[in-house]
Amino acid sequence: MLLTAALFAPLAGAVIVAAVPAARAGLARWTALLASLVALGLAVALAARFRAGEPGFQLGATADWVPAFGVSYRVGVDGVSLPLVLLATVLTPLAIVGSWRSAARPRSYLALVLVLETAMLGVFVSLDLFLFYVFWEAVLVPAYFLIGSFGGPRRVYAAVKFFVYTLLGGLLMLVGIIALFWLQQRATGTPSFDYDVLRDFDKAPDTQRWLFAAFFAAFAIKTPLWPLHTWLPDAYTEAPATTTVLLAGVMSKLGVYGFLRYSLPMFPDAAHDLQPLLLTLAVIGILYCALVATVQRDFKTLVAYSSVSHLGFIVLGVFALNVQGLQGAVFYAVAHGLLIGGLFFVTGMLEERRGTRRIDEFGGLQQSAPRMAGVMLVITLGAVALPGLVGFVGEFLTLLGAFLANRAYAVAAVVGVILGAVYLLWAYQRMWHGPLEREENRAVGDLTGREWAILAPLVAAIVVLGLFPRPVLERVEPSATRVVEQTRPPSP
């Protein structure tokens, strides 16, 4: 009940926001913020009720939806999905505050953001494959309009590319879901899309490989995994800053979550067979995108590539197929959301002030906006995985997992860590340090109260979770262990 309320609170908010008269933009903003805060409150209540030691799904709800197709409404959270639910509910109100001034046509913008939140939460909590698919595709529509209606000059191209790319992956997954459903029905005679049912029935290794491929199409495109990432720089760069925060912070986790929740436990043999391939793709992605990020002139595009590069670590952790890797992947997913979200927020604030994102247009901002520079330093250091900050814990655990699985991949990925430090710190140095040469940069104001309201919670989370990761990790561990057990192929 609590979970259902948290899931649909933003959607209800979206309906109300859409019904607010066009002239009352302020009312629309407050309603949207309130709706997202209600969702956050409910998610926090959910976390408080969550029993830490249990590996299975908790706090769920079940109802019939379309019995004729075996489709039901079944939701629930476990240690893997709960942190992601919290991440989504934390970032959305921040994104709404972030768009307080900038959004043209605020009603449509805010309603779309709230619809996006419900759709993304739905992906994390669905325990019925059909419901999962419905939410998965439902993410597309608000994201498409957010990018296409409110983005930069090449927004239409970026939005269509994003839509078609992800729709292709989603439809291939639909074929996989139908095949899975049908195989299960043939095996047992009862139609069901229930997660547990579809996970547990026996699948031949050959079948598994085909089904894995179908699901892989959707998850790899959404994450995105190299070489399917080409939609991402366009979409992230063209989307308005606060949308990019949600796309990079939450939407990119949908694919990772899909791997974790579906690809591994449902198709364990295929996951083990294809492990080398996926680890290779992850490492290539880490290194390739890090190199591309190094040469970017637009800071937003740099962060976009950095986001893909860091997501590679998460995929590395997932396909390490051991507890350390999975635990690290979930933790890093949260960390990545906070850090990349923070970087995009600051990018948006700079763009608001200066109307540009080119790195060489900035320089010496530390003198004109010292507090902003300090906050940015914390976020940047977190992103380069400085020990004591949130990024370190995640990166360490995923690399540990990869190391235990296969040393070579871990070693190669460590090069990516170094490259990450290089391009992020180099960009920081060029933008914030050095002499204050340009006249426009002198006038850059420091953080306003509204901006503090966005960045302070993020920085606090980055520091606190970096120093005390235990409460999160001990909730993730039982569920991660369970996923690893389910993924262990039956001994021959």
Binding site: F69, Y133, V134, V141, G148, V160, L167, I178, A179, W182
Partner: protein, 505 residues
């Protein structure tokens, strides 16, 4: 002597089962009444005519409800009342009602040549009679008669305005339609030659008889398929569709797109999945190949269209392809039948809705001061910023187009899903993968319209309001609500389609 004795035998007259064809009779009766009203009262207001038409439809709907539990073959096997008949009646009557509302709407500030004459109302009822009868026909001769009733009415309706393009469309439709009727008739003759009967049950029996003339029957089936493919606009018999859809008045186009497709596929299912189910190995590869061509050609050509009506025509071709996947599956998997029927229902509302938006936009008058040859606003450029100026109609346009794309949780998504499911069950996974590819291609052109309507700035001054559009507004609202509601709660309609899986006769 022998001959004379035969001739002297009284011709066996079938028992007249009035109740079985009551809805058809009501529709035909209402059509005749309207024809007289139009003839003797030429200045009758459109509202009155539309009201009479709706009354006729309501009577037919009531009779359909009265016949709801009837499961029998009537007229010596010439008409069969089963789930397909019942489901198709509901879909077709709903389509008829929406089309009537569309036709009842005045042209606003649109082109005066655009206005359809009052005769469209009786013609619409006649066409509907043919469609409903076609869905119930279980004798090839009745199939032919029903098809001719609906075709002849539609030929006239397609040319029912004073526009040159409409006349051209009607002519093209008529010539090609007559051609396809000839094919169908020849097919019926061959089937009769091979099996000695035109009754579907008889053909079904003969088709699995190893001593029969297989080659002749297959030739007949092939020609039947050509005739049906023409009516449902399947490649390579689709050439007429874009021109006719674009040229015909929008209410007529919407009626054709939803109604002809529903009736055509009902008979397709009955003949191929029902009577010819025993020969599935022979015809399935052909239908599957046609489905592939239809999906890909339709979607591929829709991408390059710059006219919304034309684009919707090509999109309707690709939807015929998805439906053919259901037909291909239907012979061996009962879900293929219910999936196709559900698809027809969902499709009817979304495609009619899309055409309603075109009609709404056309009422605003030409978007540039230089009136073009085509009096309608259906060029994509005319929709620049449309959703900004008309937020509600724009939102409905988005709903219809996203439903046509197959985005959950709208009705089109479940329809596509169900057909895909049936295809996979029938072992046609490769065909479903092609359907997925076609769906992705189709996302391009549906999105293009949304890009134009939502993401581009409006051109020129805001048009003066063309006056209220109560009938069209009601139709739009109904289509939108149904598209969303079927998406959120498809259960009842899916269960209803499931009861139609057994074909009688």
């Amino acid at each position: 002597m022998h001959l004379l004795a035969q001739a002297a035998e009284p011709l066996p007259l079938p028992h007249i089962d009035w109740r079985a064809i009551a809805p058809e009779l009501a529709l035909a009766g209402a059509a005749v009444v309207l024809l007289l009203v139009v003839a003797f009262w030429p200045n009758a207001r459109r509202g009155v005519l539309a009201g009479l038409t709706l009354a006729g439809l309501a009577v037919a709907a009531g009779l359909t409800a009265w016949n709801w539990d009837l499961q029998r073959v009537a007229f010596e096997g010439a008409v069969s009342l089963d789930g397909i008949t019942r489901y198709a009646r509901v879909v077709l009557l709903a389509v008829g009602a929406l089309a009537t509302l569309m036709a009842a709407q005045d042209r606003g500030r649109g082109d005066p040549g655009e206005e359809a004459p009052p005769e469209v109302f009786p013609l619409l009822l006649f066409a509907l009679t043919g469609m409903v009868l076609l869905a119930a026909a279980s004798d090839l001769l009745v199939v032919f008669i029903a098809l001719e009733i609906l075709s002849l009415s539609l030929y006239v309706m397609a040319g029912a305005t004073r526009r040159l393009t409409a006349e051209e469309a009607a002519m093209k439709y008529f010539l090609l339609g007559a051609f396809s009727s000839a094919f169908l008739l020849y097919g019926i003759a061959l089937c009769y030659g091979a099996t000695g009967t035109t009754n579907l049950l008889g053909i079904a029996r003969a088709s699995i008889d190893p001593t029969g003339d297989g080659a002749l029957l297959l030739a007949g089936i092939g020609l039947l398929a050509v005739g049906f493919c023409f009516k449902v606009a399947a490649v390579p018999f689709h050439m007429w569709t874009p021109d006719v859809y674009q040229g015909a008045p929008t209410p007529v186009t919407a009626f054709m797109a939803a109604g002809t497709k529903a009736a055509g596929f009902a008979v397709f299912l009955r003949v191929f999945a029902g009577a010819l189910g025993g020969l599935v190995v022979s015809w399935r590869p052909v239908i599957a190949a046609v489905a592939v061509a239809t999906m890909l050609v339709g979607a591929g050509l829709a991408v390059v269209q710059s006219d919304l009506k034309r684009m919707l025509a090509y999109s309707s071709i690709s939807h015929a392809g998805y439906l053919l996947v259901g037909v291909a599956a239907a012979a061996t998997v009962p879900a293929g039948i219910s999936a196709s029927l559900f698809y027809l229902l969902a499709y009817a509302f979304m495609v009619m809705g899309a055409f309603m938006v075109v009609q709404y936009a056309s009422r605003l008058g030409p978007s540039d001061p230089e009136p073009r040859e085509i009096g309608e606003r259906s060029s994509l450029d005319d929709y620049r910023g449309f959703a900004r100026r008309h937020p509600w109609v724009g939102a409905l346009l988005a709903v219809f187009l996203l439903a046509l794309t197959g985005i959950p949780p709208l009705s089109g998504f479940w329809a596509k899903y169900y057909v895909f499911l049936a295809g996979i069950e029938a072992g046609l996974t490769w065909l479903v993968v092609v359907a997925v590819i076609s769906s992705v291609i189709s996302a391009f052109f549906y999105l293009r319209v949304l890009v134009v309507a939502y993401l581009q700035e409006p051109a020129g001054e805001a048009e003066a309001a063309p006056g209220r559009a109560p009938a069209l507004g009601l139709a739009l609202g109904l289509a939108g609500v149904l598209t969303i509601a079927i998406g959120l709660a498809p259960e009842a309609l899916v269960s209803a389609a499931r009861t139609a899986e057994r074909i009688l006769g």
